[in-house]
């Protein structure tokens, strides 16, 4: 594999993202929403709401009772008020699952465009006529989605951490963020889920003729994350470091499977024929 070729493709695509305002505005909008506005909104509403609704109390209790880790459970129970407990739960459980939308949606947007974009611009033909191997082409495309998606996720993590700490430290007199959920997520699950989303969407992108067609199929990847969020909110599925680690492990195996699929079903002929 020729590194210079791989980087040339990745660099070209990353530059393409920064030049396309539609794409980068979308990419920045997500962190603003999920790492800034949503946490600020949640925390402030809970902090200054005069009385908590019984439904919300119920949700918090459900989540607390569902936490497997006894130590964590005790720590939560010992918090001075329901408001404290609720904020802790929101920051470390609810918002954690919704935070996954940032890497997923960003990776999806870029990866979907990877091949479809070349097809729509009529440049895939030129790429396929060049001596770049399919492996180099795919690795370049994967990198071009991974680097910005992961970079934005890390920045969002810092942003989220700073904002929640500013808002919660005066209340708790300690750092409630990041707990172990967050650490497993950012250093284990998010990189894996980002690659997973990229691989699925690149596979779709290479086969689809147009962006819309690709978007419809590729968008399905986001559904399990919404499921995870709903699971949290209803107390059915409480995230824990072990669980996040396990999800990551499963996705890691899935990644290997998709990589095999990509190498098996994407030869130059197929890619070329799909674009004409």
């Amino acid at each position: 594999m020729n590194k210079q070729m791989v980087w040339a493709i990745a660099e070209k695509d990353i530059r393409g993202i920064t030049k396309n305002s539609q794409v980068w505005i979308g990419m920045i909008l997500l962190p603003v929403l999920f790492a800034v506005l949503v946490p600020i909104g949640f925390i402030l509403v809970i902090k200054y709401m005069p009385s908590l609704s019984p439904e919300m109390e119920q949700m918090v209790n459900k989540i607390i009772s569902g936490i497997g880790n006894e130590e964590m459970k005790q720590e939560l129970m010992s918090l001075p008020s329901m408001t404290h407990q609720m904020i802790f739960v929101v920051v470390n459980y609810l918002l954690g699952s919704i935070f996954l939308m940032i890497p997923c949606l960003n990776a999806m947007m870029i990866a979907l465009n990877s091949f479809v974009g070349e097809k729509e611009r009529g440049t895939l033909e030129t790429l396929l006529f060049s001596p770049v191997t399919l492996k180099e082409l795919f690795v370049g495309k994967i990198l071009s989605a991974f680097i910005p998606a992961m970079g934005i996720s890390l920045l969002s993590f810092l942003l989220f951490g700073t904002i929640t700490t500013i808002l919660t430290y005066p209340m708790f007199d300690e750092f409630i963020f990041p707990n172990s959920n967050w650490l497993v997520m950012i250093f284990w699950l998010i990189p894996i889920i980002t690659i997973f989303t990229i691989l699925v969407n690149i596979l779709v992108s290479a086969r689809a003729k147009g962006f819309q067609e690709a978007q419809q199929i590729g968008g399905i990847v986001v559904l399990p994350i919404i499921g995870l969020f709903i699971g949290q909110a209803t107390g059915l599925l409480i995230i824990s470091p072990v669980m996040l680690f396990a999800i990551g492990a499963v996705l890691l195996i899935a990644n290997a499977g998709i990589l095999k699929l990509i190498t098996k079903y994407n030869d130059r002929n197929m890619l070329f024929t799909k674009q004409i």
Partner: protein
Amino acid sequence: MPKMESMCYTNFEVMNVQDRGRITVSVPFIESENVSKDFNGQRVLQNVSFSIDEGEVVGLLGPNGSGKTTMIRLLNGVINPSSGKMRVGDYNPEKNADDIRSMSGILTDGAGLYQEMTGLENLVFFSKLYKAYDLKRIKLLLEEFGLAEAQYKNVGKYSTGMKRRLGMIKAILHKPKLLFLDEPTNGLDPEGIQMVLKYIKALNQQEGTTVLLCSHILHQLEHVCSRYLFLQQGQIIESGTLKELEKKRVNIIELKVETGLPVSAGEFGFPAAAAGENVYRFTLPDRSDITPLIQRIAAKAPVYHVEIENRDLESLYFQIRGGKNE
């Protein structure tokens, strides 16, 4: 890679080739043997066989949809044939196409450039893909093709002709041994056409680059190509040098003569018709009839211009295509 074994060709010569004064026993650089290609059940190419020697500039001629572009795609290994064998250099396009693509340059019909990138960015990107990044060479070529000033502009803002010239630079960046040019002069103004054709010729003469060129604009090719392949409905219906084709296809001579005074064309013993003011078109059975005819005309009126009309590439093209159709 071993060379493709004993290919035998029925419709072309080539074993002893006179190559710029040297007599060499050569193995053709490109060979295609009975290549067919189907797309969705439709036959696009049918038993195409030909060969091209190293250093030749060959014109692949034929109407739209005759299979020219498909042939180029097959030789580059981006699509595979339904049947038949091919070889480019030492490589088989079905197995070692990356090696073929490394040594070839290609200009496709759409040029395939990135509109949102500048001309220079496009070339830098492609030079890296071809493992031939050399900023000096890129700048030099931009200069030679008249794009030095436009190099920092986005390609989306280029005119069709500028895109074509940039596409041409992209094709030759890595000094390829073999060039595939699909309609290289499309959208170019007369200066651009001259520039590109001259460059192709110079590249061939100085570097020995082998060129396979598809075009519709036949009169431009006459000065560039050494040989022609005629493709129609997916089949090679004729091939040869202009001289060979003329010998084979031109049975009568249509001679256009411009004189200084009106003459009675019928009196010279050959069928004739007026073709403009003091211009006459004579139909002669043989080229040996030309000199006596001109001598007789010159005895009566000054002769300004004499031209055999039906032996240029365009006339031959229509004759060959017509002959096949009828």
